[in-house]
């Protein structure tokens, strides 16, 4: 059964000037050299493996971690591996101001939680969200709290549609549920 509230450690993907990195494309997330891999559990090792400054991400990430990225995360190709590699590492959530359209569909359809949060860049720039902080997010209400600084903020919650698919465990499972419900 899926949770609606998570607590996790943050990875804030920002550049040296302190801003969230924008337009991270699917080749930076999961390089095409590894597209032949079909076993999801083997994909984790390559997550963000082609993103300058974050190449050791996969060896440091822990189950439950939460990623914050800049706008248009997952731009580019339609490869599902760019979502699955995070599922393999048991990353619990990715938050970005916006996602590439296909990336967003792929994530939602496979039941992987992603949140669009337009204001998150400001919070990062103001230093209210830093790598290593532990945050608690409720995907139903969008309420979030930084447990490391006891700071709270409001994010855009998951849409009903997205939550229904997520709770069913993906789009195919949701179709079965529609029939029986």
């Amino acid at each position: 059964m899926s949770e609606s509230e998570w607590t996790g450690r943050l990875w804030v993907l920002k550049n040296t000037s302190g801003k969230l990195i924008e337009d991270i494309d699917t080749d930076q997330i999961y390089h095409n050299a590894y597209l032949h891999i079909t076993e999801i559990s083997e994909m984790g090792a390559y997550a963000l493996g082609n993103l300058e400054g974050w190449k050791d991400f996969s060896s440091q990430a822990k189950p439950g971690d939460i990623i914050v990225a800049g706008r248009n995360f997952g731009a580019g190709s339609s490869r599902q591996q760019a979502v699955d590699c995070f599922a393999a590492l048991k990353i619990s959530l990715i938050i970005a101001p916006s996602f590439g359209a296909i990336y967003f569909r792929n994530a939602v359809n496979s039941g992987f939680p992603v949140l669009q949060s337009p204001g998150i860049g400001k919070l990062v720039q103001k230093g209210r969200l830093c790598s290593g902080d532990r945050i608690k997010v409720n995907i139903q209400t969008g309420k979030a709290r930084n447990l490391s600084s006891d700071d709270s903020f409001q994010m855009k919650p998951m849409s009903d549609v997205q939550r229904q698919i997520y709770e069913a465990g993906g789009l195919f499972a949701y179709a079965q549920k529609m029939e029986s419900g």
Partner: protein, 416 residues
């Protein structure tokens, strides 16, 4: 609440309140899969749902258009996988003889004003030309659509593009489209719906609307609509599909993400240079580029009107020795029209290679790829590196492609 065109269509297909940014469940009027993506849909469906039926088999279609008839074993297998599945589920197949799927949907009256259609074709938003919300999606999404007749969608914002000024008769819908692409690039309409206004848009024929709406994909947009129509367009739609076009207008005070005016007066023929469709220049800037081959067809410029325009340039002239001009009608219907109207004869006598309908050279091959070092001028919609072989591709109108193939260099009909 007031709505733009896309918001209205979605509102008519969902129980939820529609506004930009909202993710809703949308009922589908039609879903399709083609010979690319189709076999994956079949495999997904069989794995997930076994022998269960598709949601509405009479509103579900396969359209084969990429490799027709199959020119590789893989495509032959894939098409057969779809045919066998279709047979079991009672789904109609528009097979290898019919032509480009999106055009067949318009001709057969499956895509009508105000309807929702999804399929495994990234240019399915071409259906905006007849006021239908068409959308290309991946095989997971289309499998779900086959099973449930529904899809989820984030309601896009809408951009209003107003075309100002008058255009000469010699300027084609493709020139107008490339000129708009030159202005919007891939930024202004990205992930948004577009509504085109102004006389030059309103006056577009069905083929012209198809040309414009097909390249909203290259503008990175969701879909384009031309809400204002002319009588000729309405007649064409009725003549082709037997269906009376229902007007589809935005509410007067609907709200737009942005309003953009583009002045099109004095427009001359436009050409997109490699390797981006947005890399658009005036034809006069490219007259030193010599070409080896040409292609006229694709979902963007494969209608009878397009081939007639090409024939009007080619008639009584010859394609230059050493240049190969490949022509592919969009559909079987177009083929029959060019046959009856004598266009086929004019084209044939000018020395072109003419094939059966389909995506032809636009997709991977079938009527030929470009080799390394080859320069082609095409009426297609994409000129990305590698899209049609190793050569360089320029994009232009049927008239410009025809004139270029007569002279062996990029040229407009005026240069003849």
């Amino acid at each position: 609440m007031t709505h733009t065109v896309i918001e209205k269509i979605i509102q008519n297909h969902t129980q939820q309140d529609v506004f930009p940014g909202k993710i809703i469940w949308m009922t589908l009027d039609v879903r399709t899969a083609r010979d690319f993506g189709g076999p994956n849909v079949v495999k997904n469906f069989q794995r997930e749902y076994g022998d269960q039926p598709v949601e509405a088999n009479k509103k579900t279609f396969f359209t084969f258009d990429l490799s027709v008839p199959a020119c590789s074993l893989k495509y032959a297998d894939n098409q057969q996988i779809c045919r066998e599945f279709a047979g079991k589920k009672g789904i109609k197949v528009y097979d290898v003889d019919e032509g480009i799927g999106s055009h067949v949907l318009i001709e057969q009256g499956h895509a009508v004003s105000g309807s929702t259609v999804v399929g495994t074709d990234s240019h399915l938003n071409i259906l905006g030309a007849v006021g239908s919300f068409g959308q290309g999606m991946g095989d997971v999404d289309i499998t779900f659509a086959f099973k449930t007749g529904k899809t989820w969608f984030e309601v896009p914002e809408t951009v209003k593009v107003v075309l100002k000024g008058e255009i000469e008769n010699s300027v084609s819908a493709k020139d107008l489209t490339l000129f708009i692409l030159r202005h919007l690039r891939t930024r202004k309409a990205a992930l948004k719906a577009v509504e085109f206004y102004g006389e030059p848009a309103k006056n577009l024929s069905l083929a012209g609307r198809i040309t414009l709406c097909s390249m909203v994909t290259e503008m990175a947009g969701i879909i384009g609509f031309v809400p204002e129509v002319n009588d000729g367009f309405i007649k064409e739609v009725r003549g082709l599909s037997g269906i009376t076009y229902e007007p589809l207008l935005a509410d007067k005070d609907a709200s737009y993400a942005e309003e953009i005016e583009i002045n099109v007066s004095g427009l001359t023929p436009q050409v997109a240079a490699p390797f981006q469709p947005t890399n658009v220049k005036d034809v006069s800037e490219l007259q030193d580029v010599s070409i080896d081959s040409g292609f006229i067809g694709s979902c963007t410029n494969g209608r009878t009107e397009d081939l007639r325009a090409a024939a009007s340039v080619l008639k009584g002239r010859k394609v230059k020795q050493g240049v190969m001009l490949k022509i592919v009608p969009a559909t079987r219907k177009v083929y029959s029209e060019i046959l009856e109207q004598g266009i086929l004869k004019d084209l044939f006598e000018s020395g072109v290679v003419l094939s059966n309908p389909g995506c032809g050279g636009c997709a991977e091959g079938h009527i030929g790829l470009t080799g390394e070092g080859e320069t082609q001028i095409s009426t297609g919609n994409r000129n990305f590196a590698g899209k049609q072989g190793k050569g360089q591709n320029y994009l232009a109108s049927p008239e410009v492609v025809a004139a270029s193939c007569i002279l062996g260099r990029i040229a407009s009909p005026e240069d003849l």
